[in-house]
Amino acid sequence: MRIVNHPILTFPQQDMVTFTLNGQKIEGVAGEPIAAALHAADIKVLRHSHERHRPRGLFCAIGNCSSCLMTVDGIPNIRVCIEPLRAGMVVETQEGKGKII
């Protein structure tokens, strides 16, 4: 969900772009972190851990903790908390370490 009214902050309407998550079309704000767009669409499971396949989500939001690694445009281990969203991105929930080759 996005904040509409806030006593201090204003969030002007911004350009929306379309991307896909596991093939499903989702809209987000161009340039915002992919994780923010996913949260706005109420999607919180970003990957599954490599040993016990536990769901993992966003934790630090500043590119520090590696909790939010996803596969973006075929490249695994992208920190989606700091990766800016662009139109047409193909985002996938990452399983384990991701396919490197």
Binding site: R2, P7, A40, V45, L46, F59, A61
Partner: protein, 362 residues
């Protein structure tokens, strides 16, 4: 190879102030920031700061960030690189940097490390469930990007960050189910805690989280009361249904570059973990490396700004850029820092500092 007099690593409150003051004294500065914007964590602080006028008291953190960013772009002598990650500091003085994805090398005469801190987590079953965030992540999502982290959140930790972020959650329209604090009293500013109580947010002192529940995402948590030895009291468990849990349990300094460069480090729990030994001029045990801000011990952003100013002024002076007003400005900054650390809330910080601040050199 890029040559510069001073390399400042990190453009949060400490790094910006260091770069500005060094450049104003006449030094050439390269300021590198790993994020795609400047300001560090100030940009998500919607609350007004305390302190004195010199540290922008009464202004919101995000407005202070804007002032510092504008100031840094107005000063000649600062080159600013965003999306620039420092990879290594080598024994011959070469620093390797990934800038906009390109590999670069620099050879600065002096380095000021102002890399800040990262959030701590807590050990409890299921602490990795999606929906469990660091307090800073919650601020980034809602205050920078305008996205709500959850509908109903429980806050862990009633220190300054806990009470401030809990209030910011209310402002953003999130229901705050309560604040859980292991200590018998609220550690954060009373003014913020009082605001929360006026909004009917329960503060569970002498309580801690026992475990989180949920299959793919957080659905609730179990908290229990602690006895005077901080052990959970059997039978006191209570379940709170929430889709968000916010951990405000402290920060640890981001010291990787200092370790790598061989600076002598010491553990000071009061300052968040391992921090570099340094003198009162912010110089580490490495001849050319200085520190400022949370990387040298976690404190408020106000202290980080003053430390940045001290480091910037001092390093510039070492390189021969000494303003006429140097002595006065430097002493004033030192007094400001002492004043910031004079309150009862700073006793812990001062204990930590007494372990890591070396005798003043020179």
């Amino acid at each position: 190879m890029i040559t510069t007099e001073i390399l400042v690593i990190g453009a949060g409150p400490a790094g910006l102030m260091a770069a500005i003051h060094a450049a104003e004294a006449g030094a050439r500065v390269l300021l590198v920031e790993r994020a795609d914007r400047l300001g560090g964590q100030l940009i998500k602080q919607t609350h007004k700061f305390f302190g004195s006028k010199a540290e922008f008291a009464g202004e919101r953190g995000m407005d202070i960030a804007e002032k510092l960013i504008n100031w840094s772009s107005d000063v000649s002598g600062i080159t600013i690189w965003k999306n620039a990650v420092v990879l290594g500091i080598y024994p011959d003085g070469v620093v390797t940097i990934s800038h906009e994805g390109a590999f670069c090398t620099a050879r600065p005469k002096k380095i000021i490390i102002a890399t800040g801190a990262s959030e701590k987590t807590m050990a409890f079953p299921n602490n990795d469930l999606p929906g469990i965030y660091g307090a800073g992540a919650v601020q980034t999502l809602m205050n920078v990007h305008g996205v709500l982290p959850a509908k109903r959140i429980l806050m862990i930790g009633a220190g300054n960050i806990g009470v401030i972020v809990a209030y910011q959650l209310l402002q953003a329209g999130v229901e705050v189910a309560g604040i859980v604090e292991a200590a018998p009293q609220v550690g954060g500013y009373r003014v913020h805690a009082a605001k929360l109580q006026r909004h009917g947010v329960p503060i569970y002192t002498s309580h801690s989280i026992q475990l989180a529940h949920g299959d793919s995402c957080l659905e609730g948590v179990t908290i229990s009361k602690l006895d005077e030895k901080w052990q959970p009291i059997a039978g006191s468990e209570q379940y709170i249904a929430v889709d968000g849990l916010c951990l405000a349990v402290g920060l640890s300094p981001l010291t990787e570059l200092l370790w790598q460069a061989g600076c002598e480090m010491k553990f000071a729990g009061e300052l968040g973990g391992y921090v570099p030994l340094r003198d009162a001029n912010m110089k580490t045990t490495h001849e050319n490396i200085y520190v400022a801000g949370d990387v040298s011990g976690v404190e408020e952003a106000s202290a980080a700004m003053v430390e940045g100013k001290l480091a910037g002024l001092y390093v510039a002076s070492v390189l021969g850029h000494k303003k006429d007003s140097f002595t006065k400005e430097f002493q004033t900054a030192k007094s400001q820092l002492a004043a910031l650390r004079s309150g009862p809330a700073s006793v812990k910080i001062c204990t930590g500092l007494s372990k890591v601040v070396l005798e003043e050199v020179g």
